[in-house]
C-alpha cells in the first residue's frame, strides 16, 4: 500500500480503462470516416444542391429547368423514375458506385455519388500510361 492508498490493481484497472477508452474511441472515429456505408448521393439542380445517404431508401422530387424530376434511392442504388424531358434517356440505368454519374441534361439535374472509401479502392474504367 503506497501513498493515498493506491494499490497495484488500481494502476492495472486505470491502464485497462484508458486502453478500452482509446480502442472504442478509435473504433467510433474509424467507423465515422471509413464506414463504407457512408456513401452519399449528391444531386445538383439549377437552383439547389441536395445530399442524401445512399443507404436510406427514399424518393426525391427536384425542380429542374423544364419541370420536376423524380429520383428514387433504393437498395443502395439511385435512379430517375420520372422526368419531364423528351428523350427519357435518364430513366435507363441505376448507379451505385462512387465513380458513377447519371444526369438528365435537358432538365439540368445531375447526380453523382461520393464515397468515404479511399479513391484507390474504387473501380476504375481504364488506366492509360
Amino acid at each position: 500500500m503506497s501513498r493515498n492508498g493506491i494499490r497495484n490493481g488500481d494502476i492495472i484497472l486505470i491502464v485497462l480503462a484508458v486502453a478500452i477508452f482509446i480502442v472504442i474511441s478509435l473504433g467510433i472515429l474509424g467507423d465515422g470516416l471509413h464506414g463504407g456505408k457512408n456513401d452519399m448521393v449528391h444531386i445538383s439542380t439549377p437552383s439547389e444542391n441536395l445530399v442524401y445517404p445512399l443507404n436510406e431508401d427514399r424518393t426525391v422530387t427536384v425542380d429542374g429547368t423544364i419541370g420536376k424530376s423524380v429520383l428514387s434511392i433504393q437498395d443502395g442504388k439511385i435512379r430517375f423514375i420520372s422526368s419531364p424531358c423528351n428523350n427519357q434517356t435518364c430513366l435507363h440505368g441505376a448507379v451505385s458506385n462512387a465513380s458513377d454519374f447519371i444526369a438528365c441534361l435537358p432538365n439540368g439535374v445531375m447526380v453523382s455519388l461520393s464515397s468515404s472509401v479511399d479513391a484507390s479502392d474504387q473501380e476504375v474504367d481504364e488506366i492509360v500510361f
Binding site: 493515498n4 492508498g5 497495484n8 488500481d10 492495472i12 480503462a17 484508458v18 474511441s25 441536395l50
Partner: protein, 356 residues
C-alpha cells in the same frame, strides 16, 4: 471495516440522502458537455462498498440514488431517466464485482480508485449506447468527450473516497451504530399536501403532451409545447434553465449535422450543412427539452417530493445540507476545508448530534 453487512432501512435512507445531497451539489455546478456528469453522487456508493455492504443492500442504495437523482434534477419522467438507469445498472454491477477485490493482498488488490474508474467507464459506455436510441448513431461521437472527462473525474473521485474512508470515523460509526433522527421540525413534516383532483388531471394532460411530442413531428408544435412548458414553470415559480436548454438543443442539432441529408445550405470545406439534418436535429433537441420540462411539471403535479419512503431520506438531506454549510463556515473557506466539513457533517447527522 466490518464484514459483509446488510444495512437497515434507516442506514439505507442515510446513504441515499448522501447521494441526493451530492446530486444537488453537482447540479449547482455548471456543465459544459451535455450528458456529462461529475458523478459526485457515486461517492456514497463507493464508501458503502468499502464498508462491505452486501449485494441486496447495494442494489437498494443504487435504486435510491437513481430515483433521488432523478427527483432532484426533475428528470424522473423524461428520457434522461433511461440514460441514468442504464448507467446505474452497468456501473453498479461493475463496481460491486470489483469491490470484492477491495483490500485484498497481492497483484489484484484494489482501492476505491480502481472501482471508481471502472465504474465510470462502464457507466459512460452504457449511457452513450442508450443515447444512440434517442439521437441516432452519431450519438457515439459523444463517447470521446464524455468518457474521456469521465476517466479524469473518476480518478479524482476515487482518490477523494480513498481519503474519506481512511481519515473519517464514519465507516466505523456506520458499522457499529444505527443513524439517529434529530427532529428539527423544519424540514419535511407539514409540507405534504395531497394531490387534488385538478392536479392529477393536469398531470395526465402533461403526460399526454409528452406522448404527443413523439407522435407529432412538427417543429412549430414542439417549439410551442416547449414555450408552454417554460411559461407554466415560470408561472409556478420554478427555475427554468434557459442556457442549459439552449445548449442541449444546439448540441443535439450540431450532432445531427454529421449525417447530412436534404438541401445543402452551405459547405465548410468538405462538410455539407444540410437543411434536412438541421431540422431533424432541432426536432430531436426540442423534443428532449420538452420531455424534461414536462417531466418536472408532472412531478410537481403529483407532489412527488415528500412522499412515503423518501420522507426519512429527505430529512437527512436537509440536515446534511445545513450541517455542511455550517461546518464550512466553522472550518473556514480554505481549499482543504470542504473535506473536513463533509466529514464532520456526515458524522454529526448520523449521530443525530446536531442541536447547536
Amino acid at each position: 471495516m466490518c464484514s459483509r453487512i446488510h444495512p437497515s432501512s434507516s442506514q439505507l435512507a442515510f446513504l441515499g440522502a448522501a447521494c441526493m445531497f451530492f446530486s444537488m451539489v453537482e447540479l449547482s455546478i455548471p456543465r459544459f458537455v451535455p450528458f456529462f456528469r461529475l458523478g459526485l453522487s457515486n461517492l456514497p456508493l463507493l464508501v458503502a462498498l468499502s464498508m462491505g455492504m452486501d449485494f441486496s443492500g447495494f442494489l437498494c442504495l443504487l435504486g435510491l440514488k437513481l430515483i433521488s437523482q432523478a427527483v432532484v434534477s426533475g428528470t424522473l419522467f423524461s428520457y434522461v431517466f433511461v440514460l441514468s438507469l442504464a448507467a446505474a445498472v452497468s456501473s453498479g454491477l461493475v463496481m460491486y464485482g470489483l469491490s470484492l477485490l477491495l483490500n485484498r493482498k497481492g497483484l489484484f488488490s484494489l482501492s476505491l480508485l480502481g472501482v471508481s474508474v471502472a465504474g465510470a467507464l462502464a457507466s459512460n459506455t452504457a449511457q452513450c449506447l442508450v443515447a444512440t436510441l434517442f439521437l441516432g448513431r452519431q450519438a457515439m461521437l459523444l463517447f470521446f468527450p464524455v468518457a474521456g472527462l469521465g476517466l479524469v473525474t473518476s480518478v479524482l473521485l476515487g482518490l477523494a473516497s480513498n481519503a474519506f474512508v481512511s481519515n473519517s470515523e464514519f465507516p466505523s460509526l456506520f458499522c457499529s451504530a444505527q443513524p439517529q433522527v434529530a427532529v428539527q421540525g423544519s424540514v419535511v413534516n407539514d409540507k405534504r399536501r395531497s394531490s387534488s383532483l385538478l392536479k392529477k388531471a393536469a398531470a395526465v394532460l402533461m403526460g399526454l403532451m409528452m406522448v404527443s411530442i413523439f407522435m407529432i413531428d412538427s417543429l412549430w408544435y414542439k417549439g410551442g409545447v416547449l414555450a408552454f412548458t417554460m411559461a407554466v414553470l415560470l408561472a409556478v415559480r420554478c427555475k427554468v434553465h434557459p442556457v442549459r436548454t439552449i445548449v442541449l438543443i444546439v448540441s443535439v442539432s450540431l450532432l445531427s449535422l454529421f449525417s447530412p441529408y436534404g438541401r445543402v445550405l452551405f459547405s465548410i470545406g468538405q462538410f455539407d450543412v444540410t437543411l434536412g439534418a438541421l431540422e431533424h436535429g432541432l426536432s430531436i433537441g426540442l423534443g428532449l427539452a420538452c420531455t424534461m420540462g414536462l417531466s418536472r411539471l408532472i412531478m410537481l403535479c403529483l407532489d412527488l417530493a415528500g412522499k412515503g419512503m423518501l420522507a426519512l431520506l429527505l430529512v437527512y438531506v436537509g440536515q446534511l445540507g445545513e450541517q455542511f454549510a455550517l461546518q464550512r463556515k466553522i472550518a473556514g473557506w480554505k481549499p482543504s476545508s470542504w473535506k473536513t466539513a463533509a466529514d464532520v457533517a456526515v458524522v454529526k447527522v448520523y449521530r443525530g448530534d446536531i442541536v447547536d
